[in-house]
Amino acid sequence: MSQQPVSPVRSLRVDRLYKEYTAGKPILSDISFEVSSKSSVAIIGPSGTGKSTLIRCVNKLIPPTSGTIYVSGENITDLHGAQLRRARRKIGMVFQEFNLVERLTVMENVLCGRLGYVSPLRAWLRRYPKTDIDMAFNLLESIGLIDFTRQRADSLSGGQRQRVGIARAIMQEPHVLLADEPTSSLDPKTSVEIMELLVSLTETHQIPLIINIHDVELAKRFTTRIIGIARGGIVFDGPPSELSNDHLQDIYGGENWLQ
């Protein structure tokens, strides 16, 4: 399958990112990496190393202390207000606890992904553009929830909710998709299905995917590149085949758990 490369290439570049909550005690120091279209990257590391902070620094839900972030070549680090909101449309996000609006229907939750494009008045009157509604129907079909369109989000199971969360993020037509522990609230079988869906949807839409995940086996199985974070910095960056037990020891510490 040879497809024409989409131009400009969708990409994310993080350059020398630092984050400290208390001055002099960086939780993330000197983080640099780049991902571009059709690649899926897993970020692994022990709890509390700042994986969630890293992901939230990318779209500035948490302001980074220093460093630069480029989305498809555009420097978004110093943006504020309306410009920041326009930049955030290009960054899709999937959450551990799904973060759906429970009392809205599946369709409305999916359409929430367009709120960055649609005026508040149109959103309030539920007058979304026809193209948005078509896109939502197509996505609902591809995630297998077309029969649930009119159901309220709180009537769905965990796996179904995460599917809706993924569809909402794809609706943004993002240039990069961030997933923060997307499988941690799900059972093992559903986790695999969600990983499959994330990888296949981002591949068909040519969106680079970055996943925070603590399940090393799932990371190795579904991604093409693994970034290991420990003690606030990147200690491993390479394909899953190169991730050895020594690396895992370095990332997580100890050794008994590896036997």
């Binding site: 839900l61 909101r85 930049a87 959450f95 759906l100 609006v101 009392r103 809205l104 508040p120 959103a123």
Partner: protein, 264 residues
């Protein structure tokens, strides 16, 4: 090793302080009884007075309802409903201002608290007296009075509902680049809507009862008719008025309960 182990719920000091609290209550009760200055003759006379009152109230002058009460009763309901609507319009912005997860300005939160507290700290009858002085006696004064009195109640509960809403969906909408108004309409509002309508109905229910009283100081409604009948010693009319207030309050309560069941 085998020492006898004793367990007591309270330590000696705790028991002593509990006894001190009881003693304090007993002293306060006896002191306040002396200040009330009960006149024994009047107290003993009370049953006779009540019996006399009831005798004067019966039989009720039911014929008076269509000619003198019905109009006032409708006015009372209008005062309650319009007052509640006006109160909502005032309370929503003040409530949003007071929710510290939406407006992150302590000064504005404090300003909202000031408005809400001053609305609640003034009694309904005092608000009514104030607005009768401003607008003259009648339903307009009553409506404004009801609205101002309810703002504190509705605004406080609305602000609390907003503060208790789940930050997860809000974060998701922020991450999608949605403007503030869209986040409010699609993130906060669906979460607080049931609470909002519950508060609205509950306040309307309270306002039906309150607006029956404010007529006593001239702010329109059934209270004015009650005041006139009391002053002219028409006890058989007073009893009809009390009965109709009672009936309307019960009906309002039933209606509110039925609607609440449907929306929540």
């Amino acid at each position: 090793m085998s020492q006898e182990r004793i367990w007591q719920r309270f330590t000696f000091a705790e028991r002593l302080s509990r006894f001190a609290v009881f003693l304090g209550f007993a002293v306060a009760l006896s002191v306040s009884l002396r200040t009330v200055e009960i006149i024994p003759e009047f107290l003993l006379d009370a049953p006779t007075q009540i019996a006399d009152l009831l005798k004067r109230m019966w039989p009720m002058d039911l014929a008076y309802y269509p000619e003198g009460i019905h109009h006032a009763m409708m006015e009372t309901l209008h005062i309650a409903s319009l007052g509640t609507l006006l109160c909502i319009i005032l309370a929503v912005p003040v409530g949003i201002l007071g929710a510290n997860n939406i407006v992150r300005q302590p000064l504005l939160n404090w300003l909202s608290k000031l408005i809400l507290v001053s609305s609640r700290s003034v009694n309904t009858l005092v608000w009514a007296l104030l607005f009768v002085a401003v607008f003259g006696p009648g339903a307009l004064a009553g409506t404004i009075c009801i609205a101002f009195r309810s703002v504190g109640f509705v605004g406080k509960l609305f602000a609390e509902a907003l503060e208790e809403s789940d930050p997860g969906p809000i974060e998701a909408l922020q991450a999608s680049g949605a403007p503030w108004l869209s986040i409010f309409l699609k993130g906060y509002w669906p979460q607080v809507a049931p609470a909002f309508w519950g508060i609205f109905l509950f306040r309307w229910d309270i306002n039906v009862r309150e607006s029956a009283v404010i007529g006593l100081v001239g702010a329109g409604g059934i209270g004015m008719v009650l005041d006139t009948s009391l002053n002219l010693f028409f006890w058989d009319r007073v009893s009809v008025i009390l009965l109709s207030i009672f009936t309307v309050v019960i009906l309002a309560e039933l209606l509110v309960t039925a609607i609440r069941k449907r929306i929540i």
